[in-house]
């Protein structure tokens, strides 16, 4: 890891789309080859820039979903019907297409195994994306470690979605949790639950956080990502529960298609 002063200047580059993978009805992942990519840390994002034929440009930020260990960069994009950029990324891009981006961007909302744990991750909707990069990084970095090493970095995830079918990375999360007793995945489904659902079925609130989160005395590193109202409600509740504000890092998405 280089110091920030030695970091290379962030420049616009052209990535090539390798693959487009559907995730849920509203999201899919773009697997990209980015020549000259300097590497990233889990939690960082890229800016994507689209240029129309008349020169008009639109720019949006997307979280990186892939861990630093992967050779290709993955972005998971949610399609917003009234969006200026996401419909293009969702409907028009195919393998072989070029996409202009710059990054990695943002050194604040980042985590690596060197940062330590325990880790509390709270996601709303596509807010899971940068947190998934952290989970994937942890899994890769600890793949060769023995279980005591994992026990030093235990993780609890609380993930709010509208419906079961809206849960991004659902199978992968289940697979990670199944093979790793130090990873606990908690879902809440706010709008509709499958038959026999025994999990949470309301928006994330203080009681839910108290039930799921590590106690403040454990000094967990907390990362919260999602729509702005969810992130602010969660961060406020966590501080009320006694978590140190400096350990609670947030990434607000701004408005999205609806509440989660």
């Amino acid at each position: 890891m280089t110091s920030i002063g030695a970091a290379p200047r962030i420049v616009w580059r052209f990535a090539t789309v390798i693959e487009v993978l559907p995730e849920t009805r509203e999201t899919h992942s773009l697997i990209l080859d980015v020549p000259g990519w300097p590497g990233h840390r889990a939690g960082q994002h890229v800016d994507v820039r689209l240029t129309a034929a008349d020169g008009y440009q639109a720019e949006r930020s997307y979280s990186i979903a892939s861990p630093p260990e992967d050779s290709h960069l993955a972005l998971t994009v949610e399609r917003l019907d009234d969006g200026e950029v996401s419909p293009y990324l969702s409907d028009e891009l195919h393998s072989g297409d070029k996409l202009e981006l710059r990054g990695p961007i943002g050194g604040y909302f980042v985590w690596s195994v060197e940062t330590g744990g325990p880790l509390l991750l709270v996601a709303g909707g596509s807010g899971i994306v940068p947190l998934m990069a952290m989970l994937r990084h942890r899994d890769r970095a600890l793949a060769k470690a023995d279980m005591p090493a994992r026990h030093l970095l235990p993780v609890r995830l609380l993930y709010s979605s509208r419906r079961w079918d809206d849960v991004i990375y659902r199978e992968e999360l289940a697979g990670l949790a199944e093979k790793d007793p130090t990873l606990e995945v908690n879902h809440t489904l706010t709008r509709e639950q499958p038959d026999g659902w025994t999990g949470f079925k309301r928006r994330i609130d203080r009681e839910m956080l108290e039930a799921v989160a590590w106690p403040p005395s454990e000094q967990p590193r907390v990362f919260v990502c999602g729509p702005t109202p969810l992130v602010e409600a969660v961060a406020t509740s966590l501080v009320e529960l006694g978590h140190q504000p400096a350990l609670v890092k947030t990434e607000r998405f701004g408005p999205t298609g609806g509440s989660v």
């Binding site: 110091s3 002063g5 720019e59 961007i105 050194g107 604040y108 702005t228 607000r252 408005p255």
Partner: protein
Amino acid sequence: MKKKRTARKPSADAQRVDGNAAAGILSELFVPDLTVARAKCAGCGATRTIGVLLVYAHGMGTVMRCPECDGVVMRIARTPTQIWLDASGATSIAITAPR
């Protein structure tokens, strides 16, 4: 975490994002990652990592506000030929020195 906003419309609140979201435009102005630098608010004197400032980004530019007093710490606007940076709301900005 404090909320002292009353005059702003709810829609503006929903637009609010983190200082992290301004990292791209800041990277056009500064080589070091400014979102991990610390800025002292000229309004209330609170010193905060720029990544935790509240960012309102729209067509006119990017406004970064203090999470304590809601004062404007930095403003960035882009014109076809220039980028304007107004950092008059920060009495100081401390950036980790390159090693």
